[in-house]
Symmetry: C2
Subunit: 197 residues, 2 copies
Amino acid sequence: MVPGLLLVISGPSGAGKGTLCQALREEMPEIVYSISATTRQPRPGEADGKNYYFVDKEKFQEMIAAGAFLEWALVYDNFYGTPRRPVEEALAAGKDIILEIDTQGAAQIKKSFPEGVFIFILPPSLAELEQRIRKRGTETAEVVARRLQAARAEIAALHNYDYVIVNDKVEEAVKRLKAIIIAEKCRPQRLNLKLEG
Amino acid sequence: MVPGLLLVISGPSGAGKGTLCQALREEMPEIVYSISATTRQPRPGEADGKNYYFVDKEKFQEMIAAGAFLEWALVYDNFYGTPRRPVEEALAAGKDIILEIDTQGAAQIKKSFPEGVFIFILPPSLAELEQRIRKRGTETAEVVARRLQAARAEIAALHNYDYVIVNDKVEEAVKRLKAIIIAEKCRPQRLNLKLEG
């Protein structure tokens, strides 16, 4: 059995990772999507066990202690983490799995899964990112400023990634994401070659 | 200006490189195709300056001496070579260029262009390759045996390539080739990022 692809989708907050992953999910329903656990409050429309596993801080820290996370991070005063077992099970079963995580989490994943495919989602410009973050309208000025500063630091890290997708138009970005998945399946180390001779 | 992609399509004789490149050429006419020079005789339907530059051995050796080839090789008693200038001009102008060459030539190109994208075209099995080579019907038994032996040695080299495309169905293989081109344009080192901040 050829193991599945571990696809790590990361990038600054506000780059449109979520929209992109949602669009890909509709086109490629066979891919498994990792569901993160978080201590942050659900936003309107978010459901427990669908968008996130919403847990309290005590529970989250118990899970850290039990080694239940592949990676976890503290971002904007909230914990986020990737449950380990679903990822390991999907890959062992030959299924591709997508992790949509922040750059701190992606860096942790890269240590334990260097064979993963690391994809950085970049907004067309930081100026546009700023607009998007402001337009969301649900954050205070302080939160917006902190996010922009974080975004700039994160963008500097894009050279550690295998691919960068500039998220100018969602349909174009999804096309590139699909192309990356197809291309990565053509890597010689991932082929299960059965040559007779 | 972001330099174009240098796409090197290689693999054993009989793997279907020519058919695949022809199909890609119809779908992506914007890509430049390198035309090799060779001392072999034209096959029926082949035109000078279109499929190859057909030159005699004396002329070919003059070109070698003049440094006019990016790579050249002696294969089955005939010389094949890639003229240097069209490749360098295309890349400098930001155009993608495809070289369809044997594995000896690909190995030479890799020394001078490590940033190229090296794609190995593999027939579904050596048994099928054998059939295809025999079916061509224009070769002697000795030539067929020599080609098969060469093919086996070449297949062993596929782990030196960035991608391997199993050429089971041409339309599927072309899809994968197109995906590789799109994906490679998402490499961070190839992006011409203009970030404001």
